[in-house]
């Protein structure tokens, strides 16, 4: 029996790495995670049949593609509306954001506040993790291996060690995430088109009423 390794696992890994990379640098936001220690916040991405689970602890947030228990809070929305959640500033915007909150709404709001404070360009991050980027980096690594072979084993050892410590954290895999990125793009385009259509219809309705 075979099944490709879950795209949600790969996506969760990328998000987790970025999120905790940021949290490591921002003690104030990190301290807010402590209030959610032990909670499970689920984010269901409509249209992708994908749910991400955020598990804050005292100083970091684990992100998983699958969790069998009951989450404390469930946020449901399209990827676009969930991305926008990070920039919501008012209750009205939240109400109109298209994101549904279920379960413990206080925890949901605390979590939203944390996301809003995390200064990450999510789209740019995800666009970096593609097959081309991997190929380029592997090419660089191969070139540097050849060059330093003549320099001596010690410096090669250090270069490779450092390269892999830094780089491998951000690029666990390209293949699974690439598939997912394509799916996200399709959904986003559809969502944007739908939104534009709704706006046109609203305008039309306003004009004729």
């Amino acid at each position: 029996m075979t099944r490709p390794m879950s795209s949600s696992s790969a996506l969760a890994a990328v998000i987790e790495t970025a999120l905790n990379g940021y949290l490591a640098l921002d003690p104030e936001v990190r301290s807010r995670c402590a209030a959610l220690d032990g909670s499970v916040i689920a984010m269901q991405l409509k249209g992708l049949a994908l749910t991400l689970y955020f598990l804050p602890t005292t100083d970091r947030i684990d992100v998983l593609g699958h969790y069998e228990g009951e989450p404390d809070t469930l946020l449901t929305g399209t990827p676009a509306s969930l991305f926008r959640l990070a920039v919501v500033r008012s209750e009205e915007q939240l109400f109109n954001s298209g994101v549904e909150f279920h379960g413990d709404t206080e925890k949901g709001e605390r979590f939203r506040d944390i996301l809003a404070s995390v200064d990450i360009d999510w789209e740019e991050l995800l666009s970096r993790v593609t097959g081309d980027a991997i190929a380029h980096q592997m090419g660089n690594m191969a070139r540097s291996l050849t060059a330093t072979a003549t320099q001596g084993l010690t410096s090669l050892q250090e270069d490779v060690s450092e390269y892999l410590r830094e780089e491998s954290r951000l690029v666990p895999t390209a293949i699974e995430v690439n598939n997912l990125l394509e799916e996200i793009d399709t959904v986003r385009l559809d969502t944007d088109r739908l939104e534009a259509r709704i706006q046109r219809l609203e305008k039309l309705h306003k004009d004729t009423s």
């Binding site: 075979t2 032990g38 069998e68 666990p172």
Partner: protein, 248 residues
């Protein structure tokens, strides 16, 4: 073939010697183990372990045994997953690896819900019907008597609970095998020499992968040990497989 020898990579060694030889391999690589895993698998081993964790169904408040848990990377995640009300037992036969694991977990601030036990997987020193889950990532192939280990795991699991075995297996994607062979037998030991300064240990690791049972053999072994509803998932073209089974 003599009855009292077993495989150590591609060599045959007396049964009684295997554990010592494996111990020496891990003593030798302990300092660089995590780094070498990253190099060997291009970082993908983290995703394999993550997938195992997500498949496990482990939740807050549960008690989990992480066997051959070595340097603690899976245990760290398990500790956060079970939370303050839960417990993780990190178990490894190698003292050096266990010390490394404990140091790492303490560094990450994980102290309240983890216990460290040095033990042989073939003779687990825990009560029966004790754990909500047992995980074993990249450890089973190093065990001399895998059947004994599986039976021991069965004993300590609570009824209704699961074992998860993550281990190298046989690639199933056509054309992958020759590349994989080249990678394991030519490139890996060289990386081992360069980075861990230990070519022989990484040669052993590459060879031990070849000697490990394939997907279906592993499934049969689980069933023979008493597990039910056994299944497996191939990861990365079958280079790694995640096997699971229930004690019902």
């Amino acid at each position: 073939m003599s009855d009292d020898t077993t495989d150590f990579g591609f060599q045959r060694v007396p049964l009684t010697e295997k554990a010592t030889r494996v111990g020496a391999v891990f003593d030798s690589v302990v300092d660089r183990y995590d780094l070498m895993n990253d190099v060997m698998s291009l970082g993908i081993h983290r995703l394999w372990k993550r997938f195992a964790l997500e498949t496990s169904g482990i939740r807050h408040g549960q008690r989990v045994l992480d066997l051959a848990g070595g340097t603690g990377d899976l245990a760290a995640r398990l500790a956060r997953l079970v939370g303050a009300r839960g417990e993780v037992v990190l178990c490894d036969i190698n003292a050096g690896m266990l010390k490394q694991g404990r140091a790492r977990l303490i560094d990450e601030g994980i102290t309240g819900n983890v216990r460290y036990v040095q033990s042989d997987a073939q003779h687990l020193p825990f009560p029966e019907n004790y754990f909500d889950c047992v995980t074993m990532a990249f450890g089973l192939r190093n065990v001399t008597d895998k059947t004994a280990a599986l039976e021991s795991i069965y004993r300590v699991l609570k009824p209704g609970s699961r074992v998860l075995i993550l281990e190298f297996s046989k690639p199933v994607v056509p054309g992958l095998k020759p590349l994989y062979d080249l990678y394991s037998f030519r490139i890996l030991p060289v990386m081992g020499k360069l980075i861990a300064k230990d070519e022989n240990s990484y040669r052993y690791l590459a060879e031990s992968i070849r000697m490990h049972p394939d997907q279906l053999q592993m499934l049969s072994m689980l069933e023979a040990a008493g597990f039910e509803r056994c299944q497996y998932h191939n990861l990365t073209g079958g280079i790694v497989a995640l096997h699971s089974g229930y004690k019902l």
